[in-house]
Symmetry: C2
Subunit: 329 residues, 2 copies
């Protein structure tokens, strides 16, 4: 727990609270929040540190799904019905491959495949994932900083009764149905926080931990060395991806249960308790007792976190920016 007495300067423009913001993001919930933030802050004042623990080699390319989602969001081409892939993309290669008996783990659109081919080409030429991401960002005219959590390869592996499998295989190929015996971030022991992420974190005061899966999206970021110590020195607001005893989307619940955790916002807060200042939970959450959060020394704030349309995404983002303001009072 930190004392709320930072010198913390917001830049204002009429009616809109502004600051430079770092967001830790996975692939679905947090991009929705970023979508809202983009209506309040110029892109160049947004830095996103993105989970890479779900990265996978498939069809000869290195796919980093969460980075692609964030890239497409800022490029203005994200399919916001699915919150992954490029809007209007075609799937001609995918379907022809299927006819030839080759099923891809991830369904890559034709333009999406090009992005992954470009990235793979850069990595093979010796660029880091951070450099490749910056290069692709530039081509798309993106002004936000999109930074992979690490330049090292970390792979989320799930142990199931059917054997060990990559998280994407579990989630996409098997639709999340196998029981989870355990899971691990393979490679995390040797991985480092990406230097660019470290520099960005050193420069900024405000960090949002988005409503992404605390096990496979935020978990790998927090498992990197140094990151928790750095977050302890920042103003950090986390948004819960759980309402009651269920994840808003994705396999977070099943993965938390596999770690012996209650599927609840309280469990999420407990995971983050050493380095967050405010914990945002959903107004519909009938299970959470905010006093349990306050007992951890964290301010609990109930907000509408169901970001089902752009207005609600912007509203949640606005409330979070206000909370940062309050933190500095």
């Amino acid at each position: 727990m930190k004392i709320f007495t930072f010198t913390f300067t917001f830049k204002f423009k009429p009616g809109i609270l502004r600051t430079t913001m770092i967001i830790l993001s996975g692939g679905t919930g947090t991009p929705k929040l970023i979508d809202g933030l983009r209506n309040l802050l110029p892109d160049e004042e947004i830095t996103v540190i993105v989970n890479t623990g779900e990265d996978i080699w498939s069809s000869e390319v290195f796919i980093t799904p969460d980075i692609d989602t964030v890239l497409y969001l800022f490029a203005g081409i994200l399919d916001k019905t699915r919150w992954w892939s490029i809007i209007g993309d075609t799937y001609n290669t995918y379907h022809q491959m299927k006819e030839l008996g080759l099923s891809e783990i991830l369904m890559l659109g034709d333009r999406d495949r090009a992005v992954n081919l470009a990235r793979t080409d850069m990595l093979k030429k010796g660029m880091t994932l951070t450099e490749a991401t910056a290069d692709i960002s530039k081509s798309f005219g993106i002004r936000a900083a999109i930074i992979p959590m690490s330049d090292d390869v970390i792979t989320s592996m799930i142990e199931t009764p059917r054997g060990q499998m990559h998280f994407q295989e579990f989630w996409v190929t098997h639709k999340g149905t196998p029981d989870i015996l355990s899971f691990e971030y393979r490679g995390i022991g040797e991985a480092r926080l990406s230097p660019a992420a470290k520099v960005a974190l050193e420069k900024e005061d405000c960090v949002i931990i988005g409503p992404s899966n605390p096990m496979t999206s935020i978990g790998p970021i927090l498992a990197l060395p140094e990151i928790k110590e750095i977050l302890k020195t920042k103003k950090v607001i986390a948004v819960s991806p759980i309402i009651g005893n269920e994840a808003v989307s994705g396999p977070a619940g099943k993965l938390m249960a596999a770690k012996g955790l209650d599927v609840s916002s309280k469990s999420v807060a407990a995971l983050y308790k050493d380095f967050i200042d405010v914990f945002v939970y959903d107004i519909r959450d009938g299970v959470l007792n905010p006093e349990d959060i306050e007992k951890m020394g964290i301010k609990a704030v109930a907000l509408d976190t169901m970001m089902t349309d752009e207005e609600r995404r912007t509203e949640l983002a606005r409330e979070i920016l206000k909370l940062f303001n309050l933190l500095s009072v």
Copy 2:
């Protein structure tokens, strides 16, 4: 030279001469002739041994352009305006890659890319190119036998004043403009004729050497060990890809000149003289003296080899089948 006294049995059906036929093929001229043959013979009686000397790794896939052309021809999806690629294919990945600054040496369509991805996947799993080609043929419902000349990697490299480059780079990227100082089939020293091609050749009597580039299409096939000795025991008809002093299409002329050869049908016949029985040249060829061919112990036959429409392709194929018949009289 062989004496024309084989026991040679044609199977007839009313009006159409039939036999099982092996064709040595490159990527443009010969597929046109095969297109004609398909109107006279059922596909299962056609075996094509295809040049692989122009194969190239590009965009993470192993592209074997001549095999793809023959595959698409038999699958009924070849773009017969260009004589490469799939008709109606889209180029969404290609264009998106270009926007990201990544130019492909070969312009792959989206469905075409899928075929190359499937092949690459099979090769990486340990299949030979022959097996991968058979697998893809089966998926396309192809009944002809399409056999790569070799399962080993042979790469046509061109030495130019701008440096050494892959044949495809010379022909596609640089549009065939650099001077050719020399060229080589890299890897040919260790390469073997594919076992399937050898078995097919042992079984059949009739071989057509199609009107493909004698340097980069037919040349690599003939440079493989054993093939010339095998051809000496067969009835072989070769079709010249040269009319007068020019190649009908492609860079054959420039490559022949680089080898110190006259660009002429006579030069082509001289390259093939040890193992062909009949040499077909174009009725428009004002340079060739057929007596020069006959002096090599080869029958010279003037035919219309400009296969600009399906009727003319079928007509040339029909004349060639008739010639095989005459060979056995």
